[in-house]
């Protein structure tokens, strides 16, 4: 029996829903607006909302002061590289656990997830030292490795969940057809898991793009991504809120666009296969 909702209740919940959505969206809207204010206006009390002197001077200033393209390129290299590396490691790992599980598979999965339970700062000093010894500070390779490792548990978990949905029969059919393990993964498993892999990639790119702890601590110039670009406007001589906001808007713009186009995949990815 379908539950009946009166029009009044429906209207009320619609308002509540939009209100909640607005509250969640507000900081981003505020950041966007602040980017178009003068530094003075950005500090004003009471704060101005929409009716202020709109200006693009912050954008002009930050693009003159910093090389946005270089930071953005680094973000693309780090997010793309760490995602690719994570996939290369995670697909075989998830395949193994999904189709040839042992008694310990569940434990291994939990152990991997448990590495996410420790705050990253807890291993900052050893990581920093390792990076010095290996000469990886402020290098793409070093950062790609760290970002890959920090997201790997989630990537493996997501792929594992997707692979579990693939009927075992089909892989066995491939085996009967003469596919080796690698051919089975390349020609059968991976193409069948494309929707799952796509949402995993999207989520991983977003997480890596926005990752700020390791990127801020282990890069300075050469490998510095957009997180460094934002942080550089919070200077010792004071915070330039308007410039900081303009920089943040520029930094998140690519990923917002990507997320917008990948909405469906993302929803599927974040519900971990619950939506079919």
């Amino acid at each position: 029996m379908a539950r009946k909702t009166s029009k009044a209740t429906l209207a009320l919940w619609t308002v509540v829903g939009w209100a909640a959505g607005f509250v969640i969206f507000f900081p981003i809207l505020w950041m966007f607006l602040t980017g178009f204010k003068t530094e003075l206006e950005a500090y004003s009390t009471p704060p101005t909302f929409l009716f202020f002197q709109w200006t693009t001077e912050n954008y002009v200033a930050i693009l003159e002061q910093r090389n946005y393209v270089k930071y953005a390129l680094n973000s693309i290299i780090l997010a793309g590289g760490s995602t690719l590396l994570a996939l290369v490691i995670a697909i075989p790992a998830a395949w193994g656990m999904a189709f040839s599980p042992t008694k310990r598979t569940k434990d291994v999965l939990l152990w991997m997830l448990s590495t996410k339970m420790m705050p990253a700062v807890g291993v900052l000093v050893p990581m920093y030292l390792i990076f010095i010894w290996l000469g990886l500070l402020d290098t793409h390779i070093g950062l790609i490795a760290v970002l890959c490792l920090s997201n790997l548990p989630i990537v493996i978990w997501m792929l594992f969940t997707y692979f579990k949905e693939i009927p075992k029969d089909i892989l066995e059919a491939a085996r009967m057809d003469g596919a080796t393990t690698w051919k089975e993964i390349v020609f059968v498993l991976t193409p069948m898991a494309v929707p799952g892999i796509a949402s995993t990639v999207l989520l991983n790119v977003i997480l890596s793009w926005n990752e700020a702890f390791w990127t801020l601590n282990l890069t300075t110039i050469d490998a510095a991504p957009l997180t460094q670009f934002i942080a550089s406007f919070s200077a010792p001589q004071g915070n330039f809120w308007a410039k900081l906001s303009a920089a943040s808007t520029l930094a998140i713009a690519p990923i917002v666009v990507l997320g917008w186009f990948g909405q469906r995949q993302l929803v599927r990815g974040l519900t971990f296969g619950a939506v079919k």
Binding site: A173, A174, M176, D177, A179, T180
Partner: protein, 333 residues
């Protein structure tokens, strides 16, 4: 060539022995059906032959080569799954040709072979479709096409018709049997459907609890079951099994009479009884008759029989077709 020999094949999952010392010879070109109740190990046995499961003991020989340590693909067998197991992201052409592609067959030759197989199975118009755009019967034919295109030593069928509706099942049954005999390739076919077993098999292997109960031609098993299990499993409706005083008259612990080997008369020879239920199928009449000393007996009479529930009748078994079993359930011959 495709002669398959099993010697003392064992399979255990943990402490559960699902296959217990199976010995069997499948002759080249024959159609062998594994039949048994669910959980009897028939699918596991097939998967052991395929190499999809590792045997815990014994030997499996294909054309006199021990394959127990060989990967599935190396054994030269092909399999048709109950779920069809088609590759959903590939066209029918690529599904059928996948095995050839894995074997490194050049594209031209591969296409020629796929076209041949498709023509044989009436799949030519569908070669560019995805499996999702096909009906159940068509999907099953693609799965069969995938199996025959590689010219394997033997086909393994794992309940291939269970997902089809009744009418399609009958026509696919015929198609598979005809295809197998025209190709002359050895086939092992797993089913729980005794009609499929009786109609398709050169040789039926009846399995129960991980052991072979009896091996023989369909009519051998029907006419001369080795034991009560085989007697009761094959034949529909089930054989009547009667123990006690009535059986002792025939010097047996249990006697078995098939429903079609009983004559029902009003006041003729035989055991007196009362009709409980009569089912009229048009071609046959099934009677469930309460016979004192024997319990409820099933009778199958050809055509229409003017007998209704509550009628007093006499039940006369055909004594030439009576089966006798000893206290261990084994046939007395």
């Amino acid at each position: 060539m495709g002669k398959i020999e099993l010697k003392g094949v064992e399979k255990a999952f943990g402490t559960v022995r699902v296959i217990q010392g199976v010995n069997l010879v499948v002759e080249d070109g024959s159609f062998v059906v594994f039949v048994g109740p669910s959980g009897c190990g028939k699918s596991t046995l097939l998967r052991l032959i395929a190499g999809l499961e590792d045997a815990s003991g014994g030997a499996i020989r294909i054309d006199d080569v021990d394959v127990i340590d060989q990967a599935p693909a190396k054994r030269g067998l092909s399999m048709v799954f109950q779920s069809y197991a088609l590759y959903p992201h590939m066209s029918v052409r690529n599904n059928i040709g996948f095995g050839l592609r894995m074997a490194g067959v050049p594209t031209d030759e591969r296409n020629r072979k796929v076209d041949e197989a498709a023509a044989l199975l009436n799949l030519t118009p569908y070669l560019d479709r995805r499996p999702s755009a096909l009906s159940g019967g068509q999907r099953q034919r693609v799965a069969i096409g995938r199996a025959i295109v590689r010219q394997p030593k033997a086909f393994l069928f794992d309940e291939p018709l269970s997902n089809l509706d009744a009418a399609l099942r009958v026509s696919m049954r015929l198609e598979i049997a005809r295809l197998q005999s025209s190709l002359g390739t050895t086939a092992i076919y797993v089913t729980h459907d005794q009609v499929e077993a009786m109609t398709m098999a050169d040789k039926i292997v009846v399995l129960n609890g991980g052991r072979i109960e009896q091996v023989g031609s369909p009519l051998e098993l029907y006419n001369h079951p080795d034991n009560l299990f085989v007697a009761g499993f094959l034949g529909s409706p089930k054989m009547n099994q009667i123990s006690g005083v009535l059986a002792e008259q025939y010097r047996a612990a249990t006697i078995g009479i098939r429903p079609e080997h009983i004559a029902v008369t009003r006041g003729g020879d035989g055991w007196p009884g009362t009709v409980q239920v009569s089912e009229h199928l048009g071609s046959d009449t099934f009677l469930y008759i309460d016979v004192p000393g024997a319990g409820l007996m099933t009778v199958r009479a050809p055509g229409e029989l003017g007998v209704a529930a509550g009628d007093a009748v006499h039940v006369g078994p055909d004594l030439n077709r009576l089966h006798r079993f000893d206290a261990n359930g084994l046939a007395i011959r």
